[in-house]
């Protein structure tokens, strides 16, 4: 408890110093507002769009895409990894195409996704999905492959059905490795979401950024960037909480 408290104090202090430096650069140092708007002007821009409801529309859109991409990427990553570890013959077939897709820079494919899947939600979710899929897939393969063979004996002795074996033994056993992939995937998902919105569409935090910079509304740009940072933090915290709940059995992890 004490430790957590002192950590919170540290975080607050660090944030305070950062804000002070920001304020100092814009106030006493008098950097022009089109380069760096003051904290107050950024705050005002943020409050303005929050009050008109515009912020929530953009934030909601980005968040929705990220969550959908994460969920779909996880399901597909885990499912394909599981099928591949259960059927090694299939793995031989899938290995080649997967390696090619994995090494292909997804960001570079992003314009292609727009061409193929349009300017709407679909191309954005597909980009996020492709960024989430591979880290989760790689983690899940590692998790399923390192399963203790004695666990297989156990499920055979108990005559578990395929579903029981997966739900009760294989998935929980692979969860730590899956989470490693998921955490990498979540960071990528945010990058992908913003990037996809830069390229096309009229909604989302990424769109808000391009709009603000195109119209020289630097405080608004800063507000959008700030919200993206906050979104990243929220995602991180949500995943950490989920990890604590699902993987508490792994043992004490302080932080």
């Amino acid at each position: 408890m004490n430790r957590r408290f002192s950590a919170a104090v540290d975080y607050t202090l660090a944030l305070g110093v950062l804000l002070f430096v920001w304020w100092f650069a814009t106030g006493p140092m008098a950097l022009p507002a089109f380069l760096l708007p003051s904290p107050l002007r950024t705050w005002n821009a943020l409050v303005t769009i929050a009050l008109t409801g515009e912020l929530w529309r953009h934030l909601g859109f980005t968040l929705q895409n990220i969550v959908l991409g994460l969920i779909l990427g996880c399901i597909a990553g885990i499912a394909i990894a599981y099928v591949m570890t259960r059927f090694p013959r299939l793995a031989v077939w899938l290995d080649g195409p997967l390696v090619i897709l994995q090494t292909a820079p997804k960001i570079a494919l992003a314009p292609l996704f727009v061409v193929w899947f349009g300017f709407g939600v679909l191309s954005k979710i597909i980009l996020i999905f492709s960024l989430v899929f591979f880290p989760v897939f790689v983690g899940a393969v590692a998790g399923f492959r390192t399963l203790d063979p004695k666990m297989k004996d156990l499920s055979k002795l108990l005559g578990l059905s395929a579903v029981q074996r997966f739900r009760q033994i294989e998935l929980p056993a692979a969860m730590p490795e899956i989470f490693v992939g998921l955490k990498i995937g979540a960071v990528q998902a945010l990058v992908g979401a913003v990037l996809a919105e830069w390229m096309s569409g009229k909604v989302g935090l990424g769109y808000l950024m391009t709009f603000a910079s195109a119209t020289y509304k630097t405080p608004l740009l800063f507000a959008a960037v700030l919200m993206t940072v906050v979104l990243g933090l929220v995602l991180h915290v949500a995943l950490t909480i989920l990890e604590r709940r699902l993987l508490s059995w792994k043992g004490a992890k302080n932080g």
């Binding site: 004996d153 156990l154 002795l157 108990l158 005559g159 009760q168 033994i169 059995w249």
Partner: protein, 257 residues
Amino acid sequence: MAQSERMIDIAGVHKTFVADHGTVTALEPVSITIREGEFISIVGPSGCGKSTLLRLISGLDQATGGSITLDVSGRKRPVGFVFQEPVLLPWKTIVDNVRFPLDTAGVARAQGDKTALDLIKMVGLAGFEKALPRQLSGGMRQRAAIARALSDDPPILLMDEPFSAVDLMTRDNLNDELLRIWQSTGKTILLVTHSVDEAAYLADRVMVMTARPGKLKCVHNVELARPRGEQTKLDPAYHALVAQLRRDLRTPAGEAH
């Protein structure tokens, strides 16, 4: 006690498998009949096929030939198996682990909890129901594994070197606990071990196996009085048997050909 009923009938069971350099005989034909409620120890060096025999009886592996008949009247899970390591699910508490076979068999939660808690008490883990496996010592985890193996009340308990990973003092305790559990449940137990002392101390009969190729060399009846305890270890007959088992294991058998 229907001690004469045949529980396990093993007739000419053998196992070979194909390796890089031809077929390897893991187990030469073995025949033995094990009565209900009997405690059998199987002792032998590494590679003598003792674990193989246990896996064949449990149905984990298929024999190359011969037959194994279990008198278990169509039970889905006729045997409980205790591995060398506890093989507990690390994300489940002890009570959840012990209840796991019942959960997966569709037994109602309340019923399963009752059985699991009783078993946990029996193996001496009362107070650790809500602990995770990693919070327990090796010996305690193995107790939990025994409780799990017993949870859906199989007539046969197979144990593959269950106490080889725990220290000697814990091992002595666990042996006595095992005898107590055996006496209170009337299970038919087959226990594989490296230790001739353990084999002689626990069993009604000791199967001696030798390696390369794995085969059953001989079977000794253990005539020591029950219940057994510290006084058993002072019994000259016990020492004579242990010495005999050591001799059996030392004489190279099957090297004539």
